[in-house]
Every structure is written in C-alpha cells, then in structure tokens.
Symmetry: C2
Amino acid sequence: MVDSQGRFLRACRRQPVDATPVWFMRQAGRYLPAYRAVRARHTLLEVCKNPELSAEVTITAAEQLGVDAAIIFADLLLPVEPMGLKLRFSDGDGPVVEPVLREAKEVAELRSDIGGELGFVGEAIRWVNKHFGGRVPVIGFAGAPFTLASYMVEGGSSRHFLQTKSLMYNAPETWAQLMEKLCAVLETYLEGQVEAGAAAVQLFDSWAGCLAEGDYRRYVLPYSRRLIQAVQSADVPVIHFATGTAGLLAAMHDAGAAVLGVDWRIELGHAWAAVGFEPAIQGNLDPVALFAPSAELRQRVAAVLKQAGGRPGHIFNLGHGILPDTPVDNVRAVVEWVHELSAAPRAKSAADE
Amino acid sequence: MVDSQGRFLRACRRQPVDATPVWFMRQAGRYLPAYRAVRARHTLLEVCKNPELSAEVTITAAEQLGVDAAIIFADLLLPVEPMGLKLRFSDGDGPVVEPVLREAKEVAELRSDIGGELGFVGEAIRWVNKHFGGRVPVIGFAGAPFTLASYMVEGGSSRHFLQTKSLMYNAPETWAQLMEKLCAVLETYLEGQVEAGAAAVQLFDSWAGCLAEGDYRRYVLPYSRRLIQAVQSADVPVIHFATGTAGLLAAMHDAGAAVLGVDWRIELGHAWAAVGFEPAIQGNLDPVALFAPSAELRQRVAAVLKQAGGRPGHIFNLGHGILPDTPVDNVRAVVEWVHELSAAPRAKSAADE
C-alpha cells in the first residue's frame, strides 16, 4: 500500500497512489478567516516578505484543509521589484507595476542579475518544511516569463493584452530581451526555492491562454521550456499551469513540464488525450462550483475524477484560484470527497488483481 | 464565375465563392473617424434608437472598408430595457444593467411579451438595405440568452461570472425561467430583423467560453438551439459566435447554426475538424494583429486563409471586435488581402477542372 504522504509527488511522476492528491491554487487566501486576520495587521507585500508570516499562512491553510501539498504563500509579481520596477496593490483593482515597459531602452535597463533579493521566499519554504517535517510537501512557484512580461508591459492586469502583443509584433528583439531577462531572474529565483526544499514548482503562465498557438510557439514557448528544463534538471517536477488553454495544450506540452495544469474549460479526459497521456495532469474544477449546494458540488468532484479515468498522474485542483467569498466548509468537503471517491475504486481494483 | 455580391451568403451555405468573404465584428466603431464624429453629437443609445443614425454608421463603415457584409449597428443589451431593466453606459467601465437579478421574484417580474419596442433595429436594417439595394447583405444580430443573462445577473461585465453560475447551480428553476424569457424576447426581436431584411443573423454568445462543457450543455445549449432553429426555419443562416470556445465547439455545433464563429485561440483548421467540417466557419484573426506592421499583418491574414484550407464555407473575420485604436488603413488592407489571397488559388483550381 502506498502511503498518503507521498501521494502528491508520486502523482507528479505518474506513479500509482492510494488516493488522488488534492490541493488548491490560492488555498491560503481571503476566504480563510485565519488569513484575513493576518492581513488585517499586514499588507500583502509585508506578508510575502516576512518568512515567518508567509510560512504561517501557508501552514495554517494546509492544516485546516487537509490537503496533500502546501503551496508557499507569495505573490506572482515579487520578481519585478529586484528587476527595478515598483509594485503596489491598489484596492480592488489588483496589482500595479510601474513604470510600464514600452521601449527597448526601458527593457535594456532592467536588472537580471538578482541574487538574494527574493531569498525570503526560500526562507519561508524552510520554515514550512521544518513545521511539516516531510508530512506535507511544499510547492514553490513563480509566474512564467510571458505572464510576468504582460504585467510589466501593461502595468497591471489586462483584458486584451494590446501592449504586450504589440511589443511582440512590432519589436520582437525587445520582446526577446525582456523574456531573456525574465528567464535569468526566474531561474535564480526558482533554484533558490528548490535549494530551500520545494518538492515541486508550479509555473503560473496564467494569461498565456490569450495567445494564438503560433504566437505562443514563437514568443513564449522557448523561454518557458528553458526554465522548466532548468528546474527539472534538479529532479524537481514542474507543474505548468495556464487558463483558457484548450487550443494550446499540445504547444504547452512541448515545453516539457512533468505536470500540465488546466482549467475547467476543457474536459479533463480530452485535455489528457490531447497530450497523449504523457504528462501528469492537474485540475480542473471550476472555482465557482465551490458555491454550489453540497450535493451538486459532490457530483462535480466525482465528475472530474471520472474524467481523469483513474489513471496514475492526476492531481485534483481547481481550474484557477479559490475566490474570496468561497465557503470554507465546501473546500474542506472537496478534499474529503476527492480522497474518498478516488480511494474506493483503486482499492477495489487492487483487490481484483 | 460566382459574382462578388453573393459571396457572404454563399459562404454561409458552404457554396463555392469567387473569393473569401470578409467583414469585421464592430466594424462600425470608435476606430473610425466617421463614427466618432456621430458619437460626438449622440450617446450610444441615441445612435442605436435612431434608425437613420444607426443606418448611417452601418453604411459608412461598410463602404469605407469594402467588406462583404454590413452588420447592423446596435447594442447587445438593447433587449434588457423592454424586459423592464435599466441600461446605461458608464465612461470606461462598460455597460451597467440595473437592478441586478438574483431572486426568483425578480426574474418572474421580467417582461417577455415585447412587441415593437425594439422596432428601431428593424427600421435601421430597412434603411441600410434600401441604400445598398442588395449590393451588400445586412447581418442582424442579438446577444445569446446566456450572455444577456450574465449581464442581467452580474449587472455588467464580469470576470468570474460568479453570480451567474451561482444562480445556475443554486436555483436552476429560476435560471431556466430567465432563459425562457430571454428566448421569447430574442425570438421576437430576431424575427423582426429577418422580416426587415436581415440576410443572416449573428448570435453573440460572447462569454459562453467561461463555461465548462457540462454546464454549457445543461444550462445554455437548449435555449441557444431553440433560438437558432427559429431563425433558420426562415431560411436565414445563423452565425453562432463566442470567444474562448476551443473546448466547447462540439457542444456549440450541437446548437445547429449554419456558421460557427471562433476566436484566434484555436487554430482554424483544428476548429473546423472538431465539428466535422459540417458548418461554415467564421474567423479568426486576433484583433491585436491589426496593430502589427504591414508585412507581419499580411502574413497573418495568409496564415488564417491557409488554415481554412480553401474549403467552401470560410468567412474571414476577427476573433472578436475591432479595438478602439486600431489603424483604419490596416483594416482596409486586410479586406484587400483576403480577397486577393483567396481569389488566386481558387481561380487556378477552377481553371484546372
């Protein structure tokens, strides 16, 4: 019998598990009273930059939910600061990165030789690992080069990615330089997380789904692939996640991550088939399903597991982060149901063999 | 030789054409100086409700671009007013629908027996047809029930469609009643447009791509299908459009439209293959490609045509509406390139036969 402790990492490697592992993007977030209590006293960036605090919110969430992995609490945009840009969070409107990058000169001036400036994230990973003592693996993470570039070029969130794509199309060399610099920074950043004990790393290319496949292959894939290879050369699996990628999966698979993260806008079985069942796959409950009545939610959990077909290499997650007003009890229930519903048929099939 | 006049309608019916027809979503929009001049004197709703003005902006755009079809100028949200809600457009933030619908009682109070309240749209179609005298076909349009419902439930645009999906999941009967009422209103509305001379109708389910396939099939498809059948029973082809539908195409095809409109986030050939090459297909240049340098833009137009494979039944369009700052010359150039690049190989293959 495979123990529950190795579930998450075994699934990343497509090895048999006793039950499907489950964790949630943004599992340490506003929907949790304990998180809100910390945030009542500290800004988001204060929590991120204080290893004790970020370890605390990471640990509390994982303990309260009973999930199979703890993603370290941090913000996607932390790397823009040591590169020379300003980062702040406006109320309600999300992140603001200043000044926006539009010209070759501005990209040329970005720093890419960061050293220990983001070391607080590694430090937080050490705290969490010390607490769990191997009982719950810690997932490190970073924004992928494209998604970080889009924030730097747009100055924040974007609907049409007009400036980002315009830079690609009109100044491909400047674009390439920006992506090269981001790769260098992210490689250092992720190496630090791996050295600190991250058991796996999730690369969030959250907005890559805005791209046509041709643009993805030309302007994004080479950089994501390089970064994924660098992390995986240390035998640490990468979860390569983006949203709205039903048309991009083959291209994303070419970036070589051990695990592909998909959202609910593609049937999980179809997603897996599209990449030849080679990588492990993570997903893909709609975060809004957590607002459904209990019976309906349970059916939806069962449906995701059914679509995964009981194959080794499924990691249960949402298709995007937990939303702020999500009922905590529903999140906890999903963890229990995933374990319960996925353990049963496997135990039976093991008995059959 | 097939003449250029029937290009658009012939393509809707997958009949051979002399060149691929092309038009653009939001072709009468802010990027055009002539449109801005009209809007400097009139609000959006004033233009929509004045048949002479909406005909004028429709005609001017089609004439200036040399496109193969003229979509009538109107707003997706016009039907919410006769149903009993208020509609306004806030600066920059897009449409606001008030009050938001959340309770069964609020849905029960909506009117669905509208008569001539939206007759100004049909009137505008008559004006445009009178001007063109059959030279350029007029496309009528409406928002699909799901997309209109989402605006009514969210009160405007939405990122997560939390309230809309919550209503589906928690009050499926209220949801069904809302969709029934929208169907009734939209059927009357579209019948009026067809009687006025719309040669085809585009049903914009712009935000349906936010749904998992199972939710689409359960909560949306039956209503879209009914509406499409009603319009097509009058022998008027429906273009069924949504964005981000790479995972939804088979389900959308089940709604039965003669033409499926797709965005750039699925390779056109893959999209067509996914629906067995049965319907005609419309798309799918990224609107941001119109900001690319001329040589790059031309290559992208050629790539879309190549992906369509020269099959009968391709209508060239963007994957979403033209953006406000789009260079007009680039839009005009795309029309010329589509005609030029699609005419050549077909003329040759006709000569070969």
